[in-house]
């Protein structure tokens, strides 16, 4: 009796599942000429894609059904590889910058995008994150970058009568004034997580010293070394921040740093533009932004406008034409405007001029007009070997701030790491 009843239940379940499957499958097969699935790690952006981006795309291309299927950031690389290996990955693949995606291209998982007209709206710096080393083949369309600079508390600045510093001397003078005249922490930065020391410190202010792309390319060619004056000066400048950082900054983590600023207890915050949305939500004071201050006597300015997200096509996709249509649409001003306003702090990389509603995000993106853009100098090619250059830069930059390494020792360590494996530096 018990057996026969469970058997009936199983059959009923199967039948129901089959029916449900049929009901789900039918409308897709009937209505859409082709359907695209996007793999992504940006699960935070699910609403934006479903409510804004995909409907806007479907206004122009109603025949192409698009599904945004993100997974948690930490699972993405492993999850995507598994899906690609099993042949179940979506048609469009969100690309991490540089080597992670290059490896996917080399393994034949990403299609070449050469000849795609949408690529013409992007600069070479923007495309460099998703190209083969010789620059001959591009395999992802640049989607967004993050820009580095400094966010400051406008109320503290007006309370202390400070103006926005343009040169390093003015910057250091401002730090000294804040420390002497108030209880506020002059500069919000911690070294416990290490990455901020390199990313918000070294890579933020450095481009002004190593002249942006010139220095970055020279490092890759081997004509400049980390022991050159430009790099040592960058670390010297960071070392000078030490006395102006929060109490116990060595045990201060990234969320601590964000809280220190958004609670109004710190005046200056070395920032990545993605912090804007955090502060929009949390800070109840007015804040603004300024680009990395210039060394004495220099008029050319450089910013780190770092390529962060791209979109490529799965080589095994059956909807190649639709996928290319989607990428070309992503290269338009319409997408750029939509995306930039939906996610203040993530800036589209195209050549179109974009109008942003967020005033601070607009400040960041305006620097593109006055300063030259570059990307973090350890990301392309140089972080391929052992020891890993990016890990080394985190380590030594945090130690320079902690005062356990001098700028010269930091430079020597980073350079020794490159010497160990990188031919142009041997």
């Amino acid at each position: 009796m018990r057996h026969s009843s469970s058997f009936t239940w199983a059959r009923a379940g199967l039948a129901a599942a089959a029916l449900a499957g049929f009901a789900l499958a039918a409308p897709i097969a009937a209505s859409a000429a082709s359907s695209l699935t996007i793999e992504s790690w940006r699960n935070d952006d699910l609403d934006i894609w479903m409510d804004k981006i995909i409907p806007a795309f479907n206004k122009s291309y109603p025949d192409i059904k698009v599904v945004f299927a993100p997974m948690p950031p930490a699972d993405y690389n492993a999850g995507l590889n598994t899906k690609l290996a099993g042949g179940t990955a979506g048609d469009l693949i969100t690309c991490r910058p540089f080597d992670a995606s290059l490896e996917l291209f080399k393994r034949g998982s990403l299609a070449s995008l050469n000849g795609l007209e949408g690529l013409d709206s992007f600069s070479n710096v923007a495309k460099s994150a998703w190209q083969t080393d010789d620059g001959a083949t591009t395999f992802c369309l640049p989607m967004a970058s993050v820009i580095h600079g400094f966010i400051y508390n406008k109320e503290i600045f007006s309370e202390l009568g400070l103006s926005v510093p343009k040169t390093i001397d003015q910057f250091n003078a401002a730090l000294a004034t804040i420390k002497a005249k108030s209880k506020y922490t002059p500069i919000a930065l911690g070294t416990s997580d290490q990455w901020e020391s390199a990313t918000m410190g070294f890579q933020n202010i450095g481009p002004n010293f190593w002249k942006g792309e010139d220095g970055r390319q020279a490092l890759i060619k081997g004509t400049q070394k980390y022991t050159d004056a430009a790099y040592i000066k960058t670390w010297e400048q960071i070392a000078a921040w030490g006395p102006f950082m929060g109490k116990g900054f060595k045990a201060q983590k990234y969320p601590d740093t964000q809280n220190l600023f958004s609670l109004g207890r710190a005046a200056i915050y070395p920032a990545g533009s993605w912090d804007i949305s955090t502060f929009n939500k949390q800070a109840d004071f007015k804040f603004g932004a300024f680009p990395p201050p210039l060394p004495a006597g220099q008029s050319e300015c450089y910013i780190s406008d770092h390529t962060d997200i791209g979109l490529g096509i799965n080589k095994a996709s059956k909807n190649m034409a639709a996928a290319k249509t989607f990428l070309n649409w992503m290269a338009t001003a319409e997408f750029a405007e939509l995306y930039a306003n939906a996610l203040p702090g993530f800036f589209p990389l195209g050549k179109h001029k974009v109008k942003l509603d967020d005033p601070v995000a607009q400040q960041f993106v305006d620097w593109r007009g006055t300063c030259k853009s570059t990307i973090r100098n350890s990301y392309q090619i140089l972080s391929r070997g052992t020891p890993n250059l990016e890990n080394d830069l985190w380590n030594v930059s945090a130690q320079v701030l902690n005062g356990t390494l001098s700028p010269q020792q930091a430079a020597a360590k980073a350079q020794a790491g490159l010497n160990a494996w990188y031919k142009p530096h041997q």
Binding site: N77, R107, S192, Q194, S383, T386, N395, N402
Partner: protein
């Protein structure tokens, strides 16, 4: 008539053997096999002999990180042996005192952190010790010790010890429980006889109880050793995968994590990761063998 094949033995052994083989022995052997391979440009594995091991021990860029992680791991283990297990023994001895009231409350309270997630433990202790918002400095100020407070989790000299002590705080309940159980199993006749013979409390503990629970202390040591050399989560939760400052808190687990899964721009290497995992297995195996043949078998076992 010949005896029937003892089929029931096979049937009873099968579940354990099958599950253990599929989920433990096979993956272990396969990862050892993987450590003898390298990947070519297209990601296909090819046999490479002992090259990965040679790189790990001879290339200063690998061996430096490896030995640093190894010694840090030894320190982590030493702190657990010197702090966690003696405190566990002390607590167990206190709990087994007949005069103690409310032992259930103490026992539960001390065992509770063991059951919490390391992420929560890491978060709570970072908040307590935070120089910005933490309560530690205020508490030290009450007893006039505020001058000794520092950002302990961020200093190169103190970070590893601090993380180790947090781990001790979390796991002290386990040795306590094991030793407590062993103490309870000592028959009262023995202690009573000793008392009648004129032994005092202290003498009863050292002369009667401690020798009887030595095998349990041995088991506690070996569990501590295995757990410490497999540790990863607390360091990762507090200091991240790069285990700073300057790799001061890097242990075998975090070193393996970076090698196998990669970190930020460092791409993971399954074959090199398998090599590190195999070495971790060898370290634990050698430690356990030394212990079993060198220590545990020589211990006198008293028949109760």
């Amino acid at each position: 008539m010949t005896r029937r094949f003892p089929l029931h033995i096979v049937v009873f052994l099968a579940p354990a053997v099958v599950i253990y083989t599929v989920f433990m022995i096979y993956p272990l052997l396969d990862s050892i096999r993987l450590s003898f391979y390298s990947l070519d440009e297209t990601g296909l594995p090819y046999f490479d002999g002992f090259k990965n091991y040679f790189t790990l021990f001879n290339d200063p860029n690998w061996s430096g990180a490896f030995w640093n992680a190894f010694w840090n791991n030894i320190i982590l283990f030493a702190i657990h042996m010197l702090v966690q297990n003696p405190i566990g023994l002390l607590l167990a001895a206190c709990l087994s005192l007949p005069v103690l009231k409310g032992r259930h409350i103490y026992r539960t309270a001390i065992f509770l952190p063991t059951m919490l997630s390391v992420v929560i433990i890491g978060f709570i202790w970072q908040l307590i010790l935070s120089p910005l918002w933490g309560v530690a400095e205020t508490l030290m100020d009450f007893v006039g010790l505020a001058g000794f407070f520092g950002p302990w989790l961020g200093e190169k000299g103190t970070a590893l010890v601090t993380v180790s002590l947090i781990s001790v705080w979390q796991f002290v309940g386990i040795p306590m429980m094991l030793i407590y159980a062993a103490l309870l199993s000592i028959p009262e006749d023995l202690t009573e006889a000793a008392t009648i013979d004129g032994a005092r409390h202290w003498q009863v503990f050292w002369r009667i109880k401690l020798p009887l629970i030595l095998p349990t202390l041995g088991i506690v040591s070996i569990l501590t050793f295995v757990a410490n050399f497999n540790a990863f989560d607390l360091i990762y939760a507090i200091k991240g995968g790069l285990a700073g400052p300057d790799f001061a808190t890097d242990i075998m687990g975090t070193f393996f994590y970076r090698t196998f899964f990669g970190f930020q721009l460092q791409l993971g290497s399954t074959t090199m990761g398998a090599t590190v995992a195999t070495i971790m297995f060898v370290i634990i195996l050698v430690g356990v063998l030394i212990f079993f043949f060198g220590v545990q078998r020589r211990l006198l076992r008293h028949q109760l």
